[in-house]
């Protein structure tokens, strides 16, 4: 029981614009600690929609969501923000780095928000994360001076800063070329193997998916394989 990091029960979601269409239909699954799970499926089957719900950013759904043993239902916006800050790390297709800050500061921001460690400690930890991703040399540059692959690696470092219980990614290699995709995938592998990091990654890349612990395949808003 305590091994379950994330549990989704009968999650359904419909869009009502312009006509009501049900996108997710009673999606139920769990993710255990340390698992590296990939989600695949045809374009438009609802993968991103599901991920936004699991990440607590989308609260307009039916069903039950539990993260790290906590029910997400009836939580206020600010409380959900705390959950995201503390327990979830995100990597999106786009890096979303703030150009006003250095790479290092970008990585530090969620840590500063959490405020669990003093500033110096957070800075040190951010360096450590950058080192794991092999980009500690770029720490003091502004993000717009980095290559696409490097930016995505900074985004991963940012996702790691608070030692989240789970990392979620929505096509994190979608914008990258083959070589950079490889690098990012290898990093995920390493995080999973060496640091026992739990990962949930949406991808279009079947080759990528094959190399994860478990594949969840979706079709028309339902899970058809897991």
């Amino acid at each position: 029981m305590s091994n379950i990091i994330l549990s989704a029960k009968n999650i359904s979601k419909s869009f009502h614009d312009p006509v009501t269409v049900q996108i997710l239909k009673e999606v139920t699954f769990t993710i255990n600690k340390g698992e590296f799970v990939s989600v695949i499926g045809k374009s438009g089957c609802g993968k991103s929609t599901l991920l936004y719900i699991l990440s607590t950013m989308d609260t307009d759904y039916e069903g039950e969501l539990q993260i790290d043993g906590m029910m997400m239902a009836n939580k206020k916006e600010a409380e959900l923000a705390v959950v995201r800050n503390e327990k979830i790390g995100f990597v999106f297709q786009f890096h979303y780095l703030l150009n006003e800050f250095t790479v290092l500061r970008n990585v530090m921001l969620p840590g500063l928000k959490l405020g669990k460690y003093p500033f110096k400690e957070i800075e040190h930890r951010a360096y450590e994360k950058l080192k794991i991703l092999g980009i500690e040399k770029e720490a003091l540059k502004p993000p717009n001076q980095l290559s696409g692959g490097q930016k995505q690696r900074v985004a991963i470092a940012r996702a790691l800063i608070n030692d989240p219980v789970i990392i979620m990614g929505d096509e994190p290699t979608g914008n990258l070329d083959k070589k950079n995709s490889e690098i990012v995938f290898d990093i995920f592998q390493e995080l999973s193997k060496e640091f026992k990091q739990t990962l949930l990654i949406v991808t279009h890349d079947n080759e990528f998916a094959e190399r994860t612990n478990r594949i969840i395949e979706m079709e028309d808003g339902r899970i058809i394989r897991m």
Partner: protein, 419 residues
């Protein structure tokens, strides 16, 4: 920790767009500068104009008025007590303008806690004789020292020395307008006739200029003794008792009380000069209105820059929210930007406002009507600076509130999906 983090984010966003924020801040600076300058100047002007009246008008004046008796003999007759009595063509009694027992009244007033000072006065209607022509005039018999102490008499004596009025027997200080009409120079001797036909030669020892032309054409000053002599009255003759109070606001109450106590007419400064207060408050109102309008315009400037910034920073807001910043945090970040603009712009505005006021304070302003004023009047009341600060903070807060609330409501899913 959280607040420090949010302010540091505000600062970075602000510095990344420093040109636009500077323009917005200059807007605030400009409006606060104008606000301060306008109010200081207007208020200085008000003080000056009020001073014309307030400095020289007793807070309470006690006098006798020639008027028909309110009670006719028939009213005292018990037989007709329950009747309506109509008496037509009532005439005033031949009663003197003199205040009976003025010495005792003044002694008593001097011991009153609320009273700052008391000065007696005699008003005498006269004609200034210029060749064949008689000009109507009024001679105010004054206690020169008391008058100077309470009503700054010296300031309005533009030529000659005011104390000569006391030291030279049979002397007069002529109103500037009257002197010009009579072509009377200092040292000349003029002749006046009282309404009863008495004539007296008086030596001109100075000119008096109140700033109000109509008064200067008519009024002159002489000592109490000279005036009493002119009227052929004893040295107890006093027609007015002028009272200056410690607190001008109590004047109406004190006037009522003293009038009843001494059975005299009593008029307070507020009643006597109500038109001046109206003028002052209208001028203040206009200054405030202009100042606040400017500030609101500056507020729109801030509103615009913030809206633009939020539009540009959608992605940043989305990721901040995705990584654990709440809507409130985001709101604080943008309110922080607005307040920084407001505070920075406002402080500069206060400084510039002070500078501009000082500049205006140096501009020569010579007018025949106002002998004591050499430059434009400025009132450096700290109140204006306080109001300016509060206004700049409040307007920028509201200018920032609406855009930042919009930012706090941004749904990160919508932004991230859109990519």
């Amino acid at each position: 920790m959280n607040l420090k983090l949010l302010t540091s984010i505000s600062k970075s966003l602000l510095l990344a767009r420093w040109k636009q924020t500077l323009v917005a801040a200059i807007g605030v600076t400009f409006s606060i500068t104008m606000f301060i300058t306008l109010l200081s100047f207007m208020s200085g002007l008000n003080d000056l104009l009020d001073g014309l009246i307030v400095n020289r008008t007793p807070h309470v004046r006690l006098y006798n008025e020639i008027q028909p008796s309110k009670k006719q003999p028939i009213d005292l007759n018990s037989e007709y007590k329950n009747h309506y009595n109509f008496v037509s063509s009532v005439k005033p009694k031949n009663e003197l303008l003199q205040i009976q027992n003025s010495g005792a009244i003044m002694q008593m007033l001097k011991h009153d806690e609320r009273v700052l000072g008391v000065a007696p006065k005699i008003t005498a209607q006269v004609f200034y004789n210029v060749g064949n022509i008689d000009l109507t005039g009024v001679i105010n018999g004054i206690d020169v020292e008391a008058e100077n102490r309470l009503f700054l008499f010296k300031d309005y004596v533009t030529a000659g020395n005011y104390i000569d009025l006391k030291n030279t027997p049979n002397s007069i200080i002529l109103g500037k307008g009257a002197a010009e009409k009579m072509l009377a120079n200092i040292g000349d001797v003029i002749q006046v006739t009282t309404t009863k036909g008495e004539r007296l030669q008086l030596k001109v020892v100075g000119y008096f200029q109140s700033g109000l032309q109509d008064i200067d054409k008519v009024q002159s000053y002489a000592s109490m003794a000279t005036t009493q002599k002119l009227l052929g009255e004893s040295n107890a003759y006093v027609t007015d008792i002028q009272i200056k109070l410690k607190d001008i606001l109590t004047a109406p109450k004190v006037a009522k009380e003293l009038g009843k106590l001494f059975d005299l007419e009593a008029i307070d400064i507020q009643t006597a000069n109500s038109q001046f207060e109206t003028g002052s408050s209208v001028r203040s109102l206009i200054s405030y209105a202009v100042g606040i309008t400017l500030l609101i315009v500056a507020g729109f400037g801030i509103y615009n820059i913030l809206n633009m910034m939020i539009y540009e920073k959608m992605d940043s807001i989305a990721i901040l929210k995705a990584t654990g910043f709440s809507g409130k945090d985001v709101q604080k970040i943008f309110i922080g930007i607005a307040l920084t603009i407001g505070l920075f712009g406002g402080m500069l505005g206060l400084l510039f406002g002070f500078g501009l006021s000082q500049l205006i304070d140096q501009i020569p302003f010579n007018t025949a009507a106002l002998p004591t004023v050499k430059t434009y009047p400025i009132n450096y009341n700290p109140k204006f600076y306080l109001i300016g600060t509060i206004f700049s903070i409040v307007t920028t807060y509201f200018a920032g509130y609406f855009p930042s609330r919009k930012a706090s409501k941004i749904d990160p899913v919508v932004i991230i999906r859109g990519k």
